[in-house]
Symmetry: D2
Subunit: 247 residues, 4 copies
């Protein structure tokens, strides 16, 4: 199955990652990366059942060996000359709001490990495939997209464990955008500034009206739009928030 362009999504749960995977699966075979098969199994089945193609690979993005095994599995499935049209990094260390002196070292480093080191390993693993996509003259410029948050640009009190990872990831994305833009790879960073409407947030913001939460499908559309921008008009960063959000 050589010379086929694929999309790779890291961090697929019941929210943004799944919506993004569904969106890109309409055009590309998708590879779903998550630590736990529970996170991708039903999604892969759904995509495969509806005419798309998806494979899930249990991967810890913060572990270089695990990431290398994922690349090996991708090449085994799609051929050693497999190229990527898109790679989306949607993984995140655990959100925590806690007085600084009570933050356990493990919690602090876990955010850095997933967001920063994970972002690094994912980028080193997928950029060669994205550059191969450039070489194979993909219809749209191959895209590497990172999911950011309010905490990517603002570091609130009691939030340092989350924000340090997110600021580091944003720095990574900016450096990569500058280095790989001229190579034809489109690197973007989306600042998700609000609550995303997913099963886990069902009861949140109940009194704020029907549009108080970001739509995960909407984010998927936004990522797809970034992906389709031509080489002349690359966006590195955009923010996304509900109309009613205070900011």
């Amino acid at each position: 199955m050589s010379s086929k362009l694929i999309a790779i999504v890291a961090g697929v749960g019941a929210g943004t990652g799944a919506a993004v995977a569904r969106k890109f699966a309409a055009t590309y075979p998708v590879v779903l990366l998550a630590r736990n098969p529970d996170s991708y199994q039903s999604l892969a089945e759904e995509i495969n059942a509806s005419g798309g193609k998806a494979i899930g690979i249990s991967t810890d993005v913060s572990d270089s060996k695990s990431v290398q095994l994922a690349v090996d599995a991708i090449k085994k499935e799609f051929g050693s000359d497999v190229a990527a049209a898109a790679a989306i990094f949607n993984a995140s260390g655990g959100f925590m709001r806690r007085p600084f002196l009570e933050v356990p070292e493990d919690a602090f480093t876990q955010s850095l490990t997933v967001s920063a080191k994970g972002g690094f390993l994912f980028s080193q693993a997928t950029l060669p495939l994205l550059l191969e996509g450039v070489k194979q003259k993909s219809q749209y410029p191959p895209s590497l997209i990172f999911t950011g948050a309010t905490a990517s640009v603002k570091s609130s009190a009691q939030m340092s464990s989350f924000s340090t990872g997110k600021w580091a990831l944003r720095a990574l994305s900016q450096s990569l955008a500058k280095e790989f833009g001229p190579e034809g790879v489109h690197v973007s960073h989306a600042i998700i500034d609000g609550v995303i409407d997913i099963p886990r947030t069902k009861g949140w913001l109940k009194d704020a009206g029907p549009d108080a939460k970001l739509s995960a499908d909407g984010i998927a559309n936004d990522y797809w739009y970034l992906h389709t921008q031509p080489r002349t008009n690359f966006t590195w960063e955009l923010d996304l928030r509900p109309a009613v959000e205070k900011w």
Copy 2:
């Protein structure tokens, strides 16, 4: 011709403004504002000839009386209950790079007058029409889009006359996004970071390859995309630059 949604574009020359007008004309009647009929006449004819509808109104956006006359003309043409789906502010004071002590007062104030005061008057004139669009439940959230530049976020040596106007316009757009987002109007600011490929820049960046300049049609697509974002996923700001741009 009541309950018709229109799009209003200020600053239509041979470049971005014209491309944006063409793009929005595929869906809405467009109103073209420019000081000089030369700037909009052939464009209006082209749009009208190709099945769209366009009218041009000679307007100095930095003069409140002139802006009021434009609103009167719009209401005369489209009815007093006219609503706007989009208003795009693409006007700009003259770009100037000159040692600060040699910048004439007129040149400095002209940038402020067009960008900041012009942006203010244009917003006060069009926001009531955009709010009317919200009331009339337009398909897409009514959009107020401002064209920014590299100089909107970076104030280089010898560039203060241009950057002061652009920073002020960005401040205006951020304040309006926060105030009118909850009202249903989508306010955005696009940072155009590079040279746009228009007749005036034909000879520029010749050695930098075919994609070294931003596509004006691409910018129009980007503005259209912003316009179609749903209430749950508003972008205030995005940057746009050629893949090969150094930044």
Copy 3:
């Protein structure tokens, strides 16, 4: 009285400007600029009575003729080869929080006129004197300092008339810092993020404790510190806020 270095302060009322003038008057003769003699008269008397030297000049910083007359008066007083050690722009258009559609054109343009055009005229008038200070090898690098606010970096809803002027002034200061740093003039911008403790704010923040407001004398110290930084260690921007401020 030639080859004497002076300090010039624009915007001296009962608050920051007066404190800054007092501080710099300990070292330099000071020139106090304000539209109304009421704003500088008693301050000038106080400084002169306590062994310093101060003159007040009624000046509208947003009017180029008025600014030119001030420069003429300075040269008449201190000699045509007068040099400046410091020029501090502390003027500001009126603060206003009001729904955007109710902001009068005059109020909007007044902020731009004072902050942006005033900053421009003040800079064009004082930079030649500051450059003369470089030539005369002043002990400390001649300093041009601008007073900013929270609204210089954040444009809140209903605050656009104030923030547009402040963002423009910040852009001016950044451009000047880049152009005139290499010439030996130190250009700085201070973000005053909080309420300043002055007569007008006496009753404010009563329940927030004794240190909830910025000290005007403290700001004066901060400006003096900026002034004394050597050529190797120039600060363009710093923020200043009470320890208890939420941000």
Copy 4:
């Protein structure tokens, strides 16, 4: 030796850290932390010989056990109720400019480990001592100061390993400033934007004139100034660069 206020400096080599230690040693006993005794031994001797007091402790700031041992050693030396007037984090992971795909995992994580995790561990270790300083009513508000760089606010191509750590550290400092300012601890971040004049950079920028490099003693003065700001006028962030620096 109870109720004595100390200063703690992490990252003392031949440059900024040493200059900062000398400056603060004029007022406080100083604790010098570095991995290698070579980095602090002669400095400690110099300070002790010139009438100050300094102790060096071999510490790996990225290792929680090592940091805990340092705190134990401090308490043994200065008493269990020791309080800190200042804690300065000047450590940094290795600077590296290299094509992203050639950056070894170790190099990438080392920057995160020293800057981000090290900053975290140093802050958790010193904040209790700084809060004790507040309780003991130190003359100046106890200060926690972080050394940043150009790469703290700008992430250039091929620089992601350095910038990710530096952005994370800046996020940490902002969060701590917001949380601990109201507690009376002054948290600051200095953006050092240029080459520092230290033995290692002796041959650099030779043609750029005598003032083309930042003075390490100047930085020490700047940190001391931050330390002396009163509770009403805290600076979180300032930038520092030579007058001639291009930016």
